[in-house]
């Protein structure tokens, strides 16, 4: 380079190329860690899903057999389809956290005395570990002494064994999951509401938009970023649902509350599960479902990046 011709001191190579080298030095540790622990394992899982392996001995290459099993093997298929079906239910119902969160946020978006404390207390469920949430709700649903049974009792109704009935169990667990998730969405919306342009509200008032119409036509569109995040985290949360199922039912009764994430754990690592390859195949399916959402998320991010 000719740049140094004027400067007497010989600059080091590093110094000259600082701007192009620096980002890689900053990135190196993070990328290495991430590749090592996240990216490579994803591919390893893909690979593993082609093997039959009990986690102890030698793995045996079986090609797409594990995926065939998902489809053909009747006993697994029951379990697999139950899990898949439950995942869909999770996805659909978990999204209720968004309107529920919005509703609570609207309810709390006031400036009366002590409202800050109320807001934080409403947010509580989100900070608590899902393990504890699971326990709390297991007791809440307990058919002999649970708060639910007791409450139904006060109204003269018979208790329902939510977690013991395959018709209700998934909904029961989802409800438990909705509790912290709603709190999360509530906070997102509360901050979103803070950022709503007051002038637009005023313009709306002059335009005679009131109540629900104001909410629908003017406020909600402005809450789009908050809704988007709420949507993303809720979807991800729904597909990752594991802790609650593990704590509340272990997939039971007779496997009716499993979702893919739990089923995979069960076949691969639980007490009676020794089918690592099959588990990996389930994980790959789950990954593919999630990938749709990831791709959507990245795509909208890409648009935004290009748009600026």
């Amino acid at each position: 380079m000719t740049a140094a011709s004027d400067t007497p001191e010989q600059e080091s190579w590093f110094h000259r190329n600082q701007q192009s080298v620096a980002p890689w030095l900053f990135l190196a540790p993070g990328i290495l860690f991430f590749l090592f622990y996240v990216i490579f394992p994803v591919f390893q899982s893909f690979n593993l899903s082609l093997y039959a392996w009990d986690g102890l001995g030698e793995a045996e290459y079986v090609g797409l057999r594990n995926y065939e099993d998902l489809y053909w093997e009747y006993v697994d298929r029951d379990a697999f389809y139950t899990s898949l079906k439950n995942n869909v239910i999770w996805l659909a119902l978990y999204l209720l956290a968004i309107p529920a969160g919005l509703f609570i946020a609207l309810f709390l978006n006031q400036t009366v005395f002590g409202i800050r404390l109320y807001k934080s207390l409403f947010f509580f469920p989100f900070v608590i570990s899902q393990v504890v949430v699971g326990l709390v709700f297991t007791w809440f649903y307990d058919p002999t002494f649970g708060l639910l049974t007791a409450a139904l009792g006060w109204f003269g109704l018979e208790g329902v064994n939510i977690l013991g009935d395959e018709r209700f169990v998934t909904y029961g667990i989802i409800l438990a999951g909705l509790w912290p998730q709603t709190a999360y969405c509530m906070i997102l919306y509360l901050t979103g509401l803070n950022a709503v342009d007051p002038e637009q509200i005023e313009a709306g008032r002059l335009d005679n938009a009131k109540g629900w119409r104001m909410l629908w036509h003017i406020v909600l569109p402005q809450l789009k970023p908050a809704t988007f995040i709420a949507f993303v985290v809720t979807i991800i949360g729904a597909l990752r649902s594991f802790d609650l199922i593990s704590i509340m039912t272990e997939g039971g009764p007779f496997g009716s509350s499993r979702v893919l994430a739990y089923y995979m754990f069960e076949v691969a690592l639980s007490e009676y599960g020794f089918r690592m390859g099959y588990g990996a195949a389930i994980a790959v399916v789950l990954f593919m479902i999630m990938m749709c959402f990831i791709a959507y998320f990245l795509w909208s991010m890409y648009r935004e990046e290009k748009g600026r």
Partner: protein
């Protein structure tokens, strides 16, 4: 169509009172501009008329209706906000038609009205765009269009042009003036831009600290200000003020070539008087040497000459023509006595 009348309008935020009993009549079809320094209550007053702020005391009438406690949407007013407050998720046409839609106007009628408004404002090519895809000036036009569509009796503007750059501001200013002529509705316009106030208003209301300082036609305020505040506020560059001592019926000041006997008689009881004189009325006298020329800014057609006395009084003089003064030289000034204004130094009241 109809005018606006305020009687003893007062606004309090909790304990602090920010509008102190405003009495004001704005005629039907008049273009009324509120000016005043920042924080003087222009926006608050406007928003009280719009109904976006409650009126603590007093009454507001639009036409013959007492609207003091009426819903904003019911008052027959439309407002154009400084930030435009366009709904970002709606197209231009939807933005303009939204108010009608909320009031249950049938679709074809909305479309017709939007068409009319967009024709007036030359917005036809943009009707399907989102506000994001418009320039600042176009957005402002949409905001105005939204106001027009609803056919209000009174238009309220809160610094509608302050977010535009200088050039666009000029264009939009002309456009709004044209619009006022075309529609003929009552318009109330808040600005802190002198030029806007002077050029657009039928009537200027100068506010200070929640009180009216003076109301009048622009050139009346320019030529005949009631007090030092208005005199200094209207006109750019500002009027020069010199605190003079009174001796033998004449004004004395080191910056002056000699004692100055103004056309207006000086009251006997005052020993000190503030003399006001606009930059464009002073001429330089290169023969004198009372004043230093600190700086001359040549803008092409005009120059502004910054003068100072050894004691620190500053005077600005406007120069025209091809010959300009030179920075660093000394000079004196000539003041035509008929162009002077006298003010009570303590109260700021004009002495006429």
């Amino acid at each position: 169509m109809t005018g606006v009348t305020l009687e003893g309008a007062i606004k309090r935020y909790g304990e602090t009172q920010v509008i102190h009993g405003i009495d004001l009549t704005i005629e039907d079809g008049e273009f009324c501009v509120f000016v005043g320094p920042s924080g003087c209550g222009k926006s608050t007053l406007l928003r009280m008329i719009a109904g976006l702020e409650e009126t603590s005391e007093g009454t507001i009438n639009i036409g013959t209706r007492d609207v003091t406690h009426m819903d904003p949407a019911k008052r027959g007013v439309a407002m154009v906000f400084q930030t435009y407050a366009l709904y970002p998720h709606m197209s231009v046409a939807e933005n303009m038609g939204f108010g009608l839609r909320m009031n249950g106007v049938p679709k074809p009628e909305i479309e017709k009205k939007v068409k009319t408004a967009s024709a007036i404002l030359k917005l036809d090519p943009y009707l399907d765009r989102k506000p994001k895809a418009l320039s600042g000036g176009q957005r402002q036009r949409v905001a105005i269009g939204r106001a027009i569509v609803r056919g209000p009796e009174v238009f309220l503007f809160d610094e509608p042009l302050s977010n535009l750059d200088a050039e666009l501001r000029v264009d939009m200013r002309v456009e709004i003036a044209r619009l006022h002529q075309e529609i003929g509705a009552t318009m109330i316009y808040v600005t802190h831009d002198q030029v806007e106030a002077m050029t657009m208003a039928d009537k200027i209301v100068v506010l200070r600290d929640g009180r009216i300082e003076q109301v009048g036609a622009p050139l009346d305020l320019y030529r005949d200000p009631d007090n030092r505040f208005v005199a200094g506020f209207i006109g750019s560059p500002s009027m020069n003020f010199l605190d003079c001592t009174v001796k033998d019926g004449a004004l004395h000041h080191p910056a002056l070539a000699g004692p100055l006997v103004p056309d207006t008689p000086i009251p006997d009881n005052l020993s000190e008087i503030t003399l006001g004189i606009r930059p464009e009325h002073i001429t330089l006298d290169p023969a004198g040497d009372q004043l230093n020329i600190d700086l001359t800014e040549a803008l092409g057609g005009v120059s502004y000459c910054y003068l100072s006395t050894p004691k620190g009084d500053k005077i600005i003089v406007e120069e025209r023509g091809d010959e300009r003064s030179k920075q660093g030289n000394k000079t004196a000034i000539n003041i035509p006595t008929k162009r002077t204004y006298l003010f009570n130094k303590n109260t700021g009241k004009r002495i006429k």
